[in-house]
Amino acid sequence: MRLILEPRAAPPVWAKWAAPFAALAVTGLIGAIIFALLGKPPIESLRVMFLDPLLDPLSLEDVVVKSAPLVLIAVGLVFAYRSNNWNIGAEGQFVIGGLIAGGLAVAAAGGGASGPWLIVAMLAGGALGGIAWGAIPALLKIRFGASEILTSLMLVYVAEKILDYLVRGPWRDPKGFNFPQTISFEGWARLPTLGDGRFHIGIVLTLAIALFAAFVLARTLYGFSIRTFGESPRAARFAGFSPAKVSLSAFAISGGLAGLAGAIEVAGPIGQLQPSISPGYGFTAIIVAFLGRLSPIGCIFAGLALAVSFIGGEQAQILLNIPLDLTKVLQAVLLFAILGADALTRFRPRLIRSAGAAV
């Protein structure tokens, strides 16, 4: 007996979009088993983690707020992954974006200056910081052929150390009782909010960017060059598209959006700089990108789904005393499941008997 993967002649289109749902179902099942192993009531835990955040209006708002950075980063990653550029350092680009935005806020407060320009500068600075941080692995890849996977990942650690140094050192709030954090940002250093004040305009911005990205990818020659490089690099070069330009721009877009997301988090929900400003958004966004089928629109829904797991994970910690790390485990299981589901839409697994079978 052995396992053979038989390529399917024509994977049905619906399968591509059904795969995420199958993956979510499998993840739920595995989650239930893990809950049971931890001695928690499986059904109850699943409800707390995945259903309640959607039913309670207040948590639902939390979910939407939490999904914004995930969607924004993932949309950028779509450009990188669709063009075969493996940026896995979005977490670092996010941190640098937040750090630049926070630095501007600290400097402005120190100088007593403020105005609408400040928030614009913070967002633009964050995006530029992300672009710069993302451009490093791209340039090292283009110029020297260094693996962008490893260099982009290494820069995550470097970015985290820099942030840690700044909030404990030069940028620390002098009146903050020695806590490692900056002053709390106020006024024009904060994102304007909508409605009851929980939604910030970063959410609207994220939605607009995702829609625009979908248009760019599907309808412009630039988007075509991205997709062609992902499908067959030789054909893309033959078409006259420059691999260097595509690599650099894909890293700039993914780094820029991650940096913007960092700036939005710092100017929005967090409102100051701390030693850690991300619960791993940059890594979770990789899962969002895959779950969203490497499509900007798909990322919006996938981002909401992963945001549910973050909010639900916090709830489960409070209500059922389930460690937060479980969220990470389930997110990884989800990625495994989506990769497996994709494989099953490409191949039909078949067990064949070896000896003695009629030829």
Partner: protein, 305 residues
């Protein structure tokens, strides 16, 4: 023991987890499989080793548990990336996220516990050689095991049929299949070996290098190990040399203040990561990478009849 002796000793201790994990990943990559899950396998090895060692009081059982956890993690990777031919990069990333999360989950009750580090086994006479005696002959048992494994790998890869089959599969899996080599079996075994080594690396980290467990304590060492494979041009001796170099960088950062380097500790702590980038760039610029990398690295192989 003089300061210099202690320094050299600690360099080897710091280098060992990097070397073990990198050698394991090197074998997997030689078979054509890129497993980015080293960090996840290593951290699972560490938490399992510490948990079992703490519960049973036996370091040996701890090491075995670490190796077993690494193998189990590698098997999960094998199931999805080899069995289902999923994208190796994404599967490896998932394995790392999974390992970091799961180790945090299992390790939560272990945080704060301490245990004695592995004893150093001093070889009589030889360990009294000035300066290098302690470094070479005053190490813990796992270091000697590591040295043995290194010698074994050098021999097996170059000189034996097993090594030949491994290299063949990483160069051209389709041709290997046509010759009757069970490509997926070879690749799975190579990946499992990589998992065992990453688990062993985690065990050494938590049993010899630091005597306690903390969440995420591998701190990117798995990723550095991946870079070391490239840096070492897929050659065991060069990989081991690279690991020693990085061990030295790690130790340097601890002693920086003592040496009168006034940089903030966080910037010193980012030194190994920056050094990794520099090493990757240097190797790539020297053009060794393109010719040394296994030709089929990262390419899926589908058994399709």
């Amino acid at each position: 023991m003089s300061f210099a002796e202690a320094l050299l000793l600690s360099v080897v201790t710091a280098a060992m987890p990097l070397m073990l994990a990198a050698l394991g990943e090197m074998v997997a990559e030689r078979s054509g499989v890129l497993n980015l899950g080293v960090e996840g396998m290593m951290v699972m090895g560490a938490v399992s080793a510490f948990g079992v060692a703490a519960a049973t009081g036996s370091a040996t059982l701890g090491v075995l548990a670490g190796v077993g956890a690494g193998i189990a993690m590698a098997a999960l990777f094998g199931l999805i990336a080899l069995g289902l031919a999923a994208n190796q990069v994404a599967t490896g990333l998932a394995l790392t996220i999974f390992g970091l999360g799961l180790s945090g989950l299992i390790g939560a009750p272990l945080v704060g516990a301490r245990r004695e580090p592995l004893p150093r086994l001093e070889i009589p006479w030889l360990s009294d050689i000035p300066l290098v005696g302690k470094m070479l002959f005053g190490q813990d048992a796992l270091v000697y095991l590591g040295a043995l494994l290194l010698a074994l790998l050098v021999y097996v890869i170059r000189r034996t049929r097993t090594g030949l089959v491994l290299r063949a599969v990483g160069d051209n899996p389709e041709a290997g299949h046509a010759l009757g080599i069970k490509v997926l079996r070879v690749r799975l075994l190579a990946v499992l070996f990589g998992g065992a080594m990453a688990g062993l690396a985690g065990a050494h980290l938590v049993l010899a290098y630091t005597p306690f467990w903390s969440t995420g304590m591998t701190a990117g060492r798995g990723w550095i190990a991946l870079a070391l494979v490239v840096f070492g041009a897929w050659q065991p001796m060069r990989v081991a040399f690279g690991a020693l170099l990085f061990g030295a960088v790690t130790i340097l950062q601890f002693h920086a203040q003592g040496l009168g380097i006034g940089l903030p500790s966080q910037l010193m702590a980012s030194l190994p990561y920056l050094a990794t980038i520099v090493a990757l760039v240097m190797i790539a610029a020297a053009g060794r990478k393109s010719s040394a990398a296994p030709a089929a690295l990262g390419r899926e192989f589908v058994l399709d009849r």
